[in-house]
Amino acid sequence: MTAILHQPRLGACPACDAAPDRIILSLPDAHCALCITQVEEALSALPGVRSARVNLTLRRVTVDAPGLSPDALIACLARAGHPAHELDPDALASTTADRAGRDLLMRIGVSGFAMMNIMVLSVAVWSGADAATRDLFHWVSAAIALPTVAFAGTPFFASAWRSLRAGRLGMDVPISLALILASAISLFETAHSGHHAYFDAAVMLCFFLLIGRYLDHRTRAIARSAAAELTALEVPRATLLSGVVERVVPVAELRAGDMIRLRPGNRVPADGIVTDGRSEIDRSLLTGETLPVPTAPGMALSAGEVNLTGPLILRVTAAGPDSSLARLTALVEAAETARGRYTSLAERAAKGYSPAVHALAAASFAGWFWATGDMRVAVNIAAAVLIITCPCALGLAVPAVVTAASGRLFRRGLLIKDGTALERLAQTDTVVFDKTGTLTMGMPRLVDADAVPPALRPVALALAKGSAHPLARALASALEGTVPAALTDLREHPGLGIEGTTPDGPARLGRAEWLGCPEDPGAGLQTWLSVPGHAPLRLDFQDRLRPGAGECVSRLRLQGMRVILLSGDRAAPVADLAGQLGIAEWHAGIDPAGKEAMIAALSDAGARVLMVGDGLNDTAALARAHASISPASALDAARVASDMVLTGQDLTPVAQALRVARQSTRRIRENFAISFGYNVVAVPVALIGLATPLLAALAMSISSVTVTLNALRLDRGDR
């Protein structure tokens, strides 16, 4: 079968042979059976593709296509209506081999099997089997339970041992103690033909707690793989010039002194100095400034900026760890240590719970030993107390709530990267927004399309279509529907504008000084149009709002949040945007350190700040804030610094996330209350020595199931 499908290599170029056979693409919009079919059929129809398999859970497609470039596959999927991004298979390699997860699943399977079989035997004992039959059943149970506890309980024993050696009393210490005590006592009772054996309780404890452990592991694995996916999203490459030969190399291979070519639309891969070419540079990710900056030979560029109009040759001055991008990471790390001190609700609960459980068990042992002088009874009761107080709510309920909440937010377009992010998000009372790229798209729009007289439109459109400059593209989209004039000799002057010849003479679209017009430095985004026979015309542009920005801000204010706008841009556009969205508090012209200082000042004043930002200038502030969100379009460094990432363009999930976060924190507290309630009822029963194995099994399973159901309640409601 494979021999027939094996197609000859199409690409004969040497570069194609270097391409990996397996290409992984991210499919952010895939969600149904139809998407799977469409994507797989579109790719399989492409000559050269051996196989394509969609993984809907991870929203990825793995394509086996030797010799095909990812760009060809992405173009093919775009025609089929599915946006796709290339992922770096090397960056993903660590997440595919999820050995720990499968190991946990196997332990769950084994303990589930053991639990069911022991239950069948236990039911017989509970319903009155006695003498030899009971002993036989106990021995069979022991034969199943002891190996199972040894195998399935390993994660708890290992973790308890680690925490004991570190001198702490973690949650796993009482769990391990309960498992070992229950098994040992049951074995002793069985050997002495006793009435009660707790094999079922010990195995059930393993089973339920392993499920909690697995959910916890899965949430973290998904977050890790999402983070890895975001890193893999940018496959950093640069065009290296050596003599007359051009080579595409990974950015990691760049060294200071290398010459690189930068095409329009490329992101600057390393710090460098322009040696040749004129262009304009978009610095919005670094400074928040929306106006493109003209460049000329001799000007220094930093990594992360985007080249807009003309090709540039760059001499690399600093690459990799020395570049300005990497230096910024240090700032982020410093700010992040502040957040590392956060202790989660579960940790705080465990800190009080663990010693209390041990004290209670020890007290019941001491009390019964003192009262009866019977060692066997005292140990039995201490074990029953440990089993009854098993921290199922902590071990199972918290992971279940976090899993349900992050799954729900993922469907809405928000990725949770950090386990405690939801809790921290629920505590925030102040939201700080960045402007460019966060509340706005960082893409300009013509303010008033009617400002262009109909007579000038064909020429304006023809000029605008000749350039990749964002303002020209905005003009072209605003004039859609017009028939462009036929211009000859269309030429782009990088850094200045675009020029074409009409029958009456040259027409220009570009910078004011190039057209000989007075420049108004106070004005916002603008370009000038000059057509022979007409006075030069000023065209004003405005950044476009991100979809859902208005709704998000108004919903946040309805929830009683304090909303602040911080931007590195000039005052006029910031004030304009703040007015548009109804944000009363805004600050303009703030540098990265200023943003971080502002967040720190707010925190010192007692506010819990949620920072939403995308640029390099926001990274330190994102890391400093109590919780942080960045859009997927943000620069790598910003996404790394934030706890949550918006996967779509829409901003409304931010307001929804706050609600879900508060709701899930409430569920966690409820679960604590429920399990505390169970303990209040069950512990006295255990203390007076009435906790039979039947009662222990019932109490444990009912409390586990209740807290899990309560956690899943979160997933209902509005969809």
């Binding site: 079968m1 494979t2 499908l5 149904c32 059976a33 139809l34 799977i36 079919t37 797989e40 059929e41 196989s51 969609v54 993984n55 809907l56 859970t57 991870l58 499968r102 699943l105 196997m106 399977g109 084994v110 099997f113 069911m116 079989n117 069948v120 035997l121 039959t133 036989l136 069979v140 199943i144």
Partner: protein, 53 residues
Amino acid sequence: MDILAILIPVSLGLGAVGLGAFLWALRHRQFDDPNGDGQRVLSDRWDDRPPPD
């Protein structure tokens, strides 16, 4: 009560078969894409012939 000598091994054996099936599924990566596998049932793409692999 002699029947127990048969019934207990039988019940354990049935359980072991279930456990074996679970471990087999785990080894063969059947839990890698639960969402996708659920949705693929709805597709009629391979209704007339099995997918090549």
